[in-house]
């Protein structure tokens, strides 16, 4: 799960990670009041989940509280377009108003789980403010890494090593070590999957602060972090994906026009692949789960066809112990209730295949049953084009 920058900074501050003074505003008047308290020089930052906000005009410096109000008035309600939002952009609902600081250096600090090493890794770089992937690709020697033993957590000497490698001195060295240690504590304690501080700011006075903060969390652990779960912003997610999640369905909207519905994530990806192999493009990823029920199938079908881009649907269920007649009747019921007109090809494996096929044939709908994934994909692609 992703959260906003201002939420990330609230979490980090709780663990002793130093962040600039600032507050979030939902109206221009609020932005002005905050600037009057902490300014007058402030930075106004649009709060959307996507990165690249600065280049898109979502981060601006204000010299006075009145200017902060004017900037907030322009940002709140705008569709902010960045390289991560797509051309339609994201609507800005809030801005973060923060004290403006005297920047001496911009560094990078990031924490992720390294799957191959099976450990959390702290990455630090002197190349702050730019995309870390670019640094990793072009000048990998400028990224310093410390792997964390899950049994001990990040050790003091590891934080110290990184702080020295970042070239910190005096007060900044002391603060830098503390910052790295606190950031790791926040990362582990919240079951985060990513904590990225880019840039990590060193001021002329030697203070070390998180100028930006990006955190994402392990969805599997949210159950034990209700405070973080409450930070979820559904407006940042696709409405169909939110609707699907209500029924424990895994749905992701894609660009094509062949809707697909599959049980199991691997088979769902493979079904998308075979649609493309047959010359079509998948409109979505939709996994109804390994142990599929009639209700899940009905809801999944409704969500699938409510995407206006979908011109035809492929249903691929490898049941094993699931009854095909149950799946078939779930789909037929949903299609009749919705008055579905688009062609639907269904590939079923499992108990009662023949009964399932009979239900489809007798439904009076434009449905057909296919043997195997290949036949199913070729047929639906032919019907859609």
């Amino acid at each position: 799960m992703k959260i906003h920058e201002y939420q990330g900074k609230l979490i980090l501050a709780k663990f002793g990670v130093r962040v600039p003074r600032g507050e979030v505003a939902e109206t221009p008047a609020e932005a002005r009041a905050i600037a009057e308290r902490i300014g007058p020089r402030v930075v106004v930052k649009a709060q959307i989940h996507a990165g690249g906000r600065g280049k898109g005009g979502g981060v601006k410096l204000a010299a006075t509280a009145a200017e902060a109000e004017a900037l907030a008035a322009r940002m709140i309600g705008m569709q902010l377009v960045t390289h991560q939002t797509g051309p339609e952009g994201k609507k800005v609902k809030r801005v973060l108003v923060e004290e403006a600081l005297d920047i001496a250096r911009e560094l990078y600090l990031g924490l992720v789980i390294d799957r191959a090493r099976e450990a959390a890794v702290v990455m630090a770089s002197t190349e702050g403010g730019v995309e870390i992937e670019k640094v990793a690709a072009e000048t990998p020697e400028r990224i310093f890494k410390e792997y964390v033993d899950p049994a001990t957590g990040l050790l003091g000497f590891q934080a110290r090593k990184l702080a020295f490698k970042l070239g910190l001195e005096g007060e900044a060295l002391k603060q830098g070590q503390r910052f790295i240690a606190s950031l790791y504590r926040a990362f582990e304690s919240t079951d985060a999957s990513l904590a990225e501080i880019n840039p990590l700011l060193v001021t002329k006075q030697g203070d070390v602060l998180a100028l930006d903060a990006k955190m994402t969390f392990d969805d599997n652990a949210l159950g034990r972090h209700p405070d973080i779960q409450a930070m979820r912003d559904l407006d940042e997610e696709s409405p169909l994906e939110v609707e699907a999640a209500k029924y424990n369905l895994n749905y992701i909207k894609l660009d094509g026009n062949v809707g697909c519905m599959v049980n199991g994530a691997g088979l769902a990806m493979a079904t998308m692949d075979i649609i493309k192999y047959a010359g079509g493009m998948p409109a979505n990823f939709l996994d109804v789960g390994g142990g599929v029920t009639e209700e899940a199938v009905t809801n999944a079908f409704r969500i699938l066809v409510s995407d206006p881009d979908v011109k035809g649907a492929l249903i691929n269920i490898f049941g094993g112990i699931v009854r095909c007649d149950m799946i078939a009747s779930g789909v037929v019921k949903a299609a009749k209730a919705l008055g579905t007109k688009i062609p639907v090809v269904i590939r079923l494996e499992g108990t009662n295949v023949d009964l399932g096929k009979k239900i489809l044939a007798e439904s009076g709908l434009a449905f057909s049953a296919a043997d195997g994934m290949k036949e199913a994909a070729e047929r639906i692609v032919g019907l859609v084009h």
Binding site: A116, P150, D191, G266, A270, M272, I274, G350
Partner: protein, 292 residues
């Protein structure tokens, strides 16, 4: 022959008295798995599905000689269950549970270091040696005994591969789901080593997906030291970057872990890679007949 599991393996089912545990333990027994005990804390001393239930894994191991475990407990209790099995000295632990937090699995992997236990999963359909035994939730009847080893990160896609193998007239020595999570127990290399040593396994099907580098590591191992034919498939060729495709582990992050990258690595290692998932069986037939 088979790897890790056969009809003699003595199995304890953790969470046997729960709904899912009961259902799948029953299916395992029907398939021929030697389920010797159940374990549910607080239900010790009772019987369920005809086997004694214990409060701890250690008791099940001592009283019934359990050497392997099937874990059907909720996600927040599962990591503890895996470590309890390792502590009790079991040699094989199959964790079916989906949704275990990543940090819990990091602790598990640290705890298991140096202990003689093979962990399969979590978030796996399990392991099956057809005609002998299964520990997991896969449908038994689609499998048939034979000479093809299968290693896969997914569930239903494995069933798809199994069916294609069976339709080509081949069977499986053992089929293993390594699990769809970012951090899992045995990965491709450890299982390839076992299949290499198993005289009954003539070829291996390796099914991967986007995310992580496990398939690339497997490719390097195959190139260096795996002599039997391997057929590969990677799911997620059409997946967009940055989106988690159902499995927690299936995500293209920072431009890394794409299907193309993995397919190229496998091809360079001499693996016959099926581009279409419908061609897995045909590729296997090709690989086995070319060799013969």
């Amino acid at each position: 022959m088979s790897i890790l599991l056969d009809e003699k393996t003595r199995v304890v089912v953790l969470g046997i008295t729960g709904g899912e545990g009961t259902f799948h333990a029953q299916k395992m027994i029907e398939y021929g798995t030697r389920v010797v005990a159940g374990m549910t804390p607080g239900k010790g001393g009772t019987r369920h599905l005809g086997v004694p239930v214990f409060n701890t894994v250690a008791e099940a191991a001592a009283a019934e000689g359990a050497e392997a475990a099937a874990i059907f407990v909720p996600p927040f209790a599962a990591a503890d269950a895996i470590m309890e099995c390792a502590d009790a000295g079991l040699r094989l632990v199959v964790c079916i549970t989906e949704g275990i937090p990543t940090f819990d699995m990091l602790k598990v992997k640290t705890y298991l270091r140096g202990k003689p236990v093979a962990l399969i999963g979590p978030n796996t359909p399990g392991i099956i040696s057809p005609g002998k035994a299964k520990i997991g939730i896969m449908p038994g009847p689609i499998h048939r005994a034979g000479s093809v080893g299968i290693i896969s990160r997914s569930g239903t896609l494995t069933y798809e591969a199994v069916q294609q193998v069976s339709r080509q007239g081949y069977g499986q020595s053992t089929a293993v789901g390594i699990g769809g999570d970012p951090i899992v127990g045995l990965k491709y290399i450890e299982l390839l080593e076992l299949f290499k040593a198993d005289p009954a396994t003539e070829a291996v099907i390796l099914i991967g997906e986007i995310g992580g580098t496990a398939e690339d590591e497997a490719a390097a191992y195959i190139k260096a030291s795996f002599p039997k034919p391997v057929v590969g498939f990677i799911a997620g060729q059409t997946a967009p970057p940055g989106r988690r495709m159902g499995h927690a582990g299936a995500i293209i992050a920072g431009g890394k872990g794409t299907a193309q990258e993995k397919m190229d690595a496998l091809r360079a290692a001499g693996v016959s890679v099926a581009v279409s998932p419908a061609d897995i069986g045909a590729r296997l037939h090709e690989a086995l007949t070319r060799r013969a």
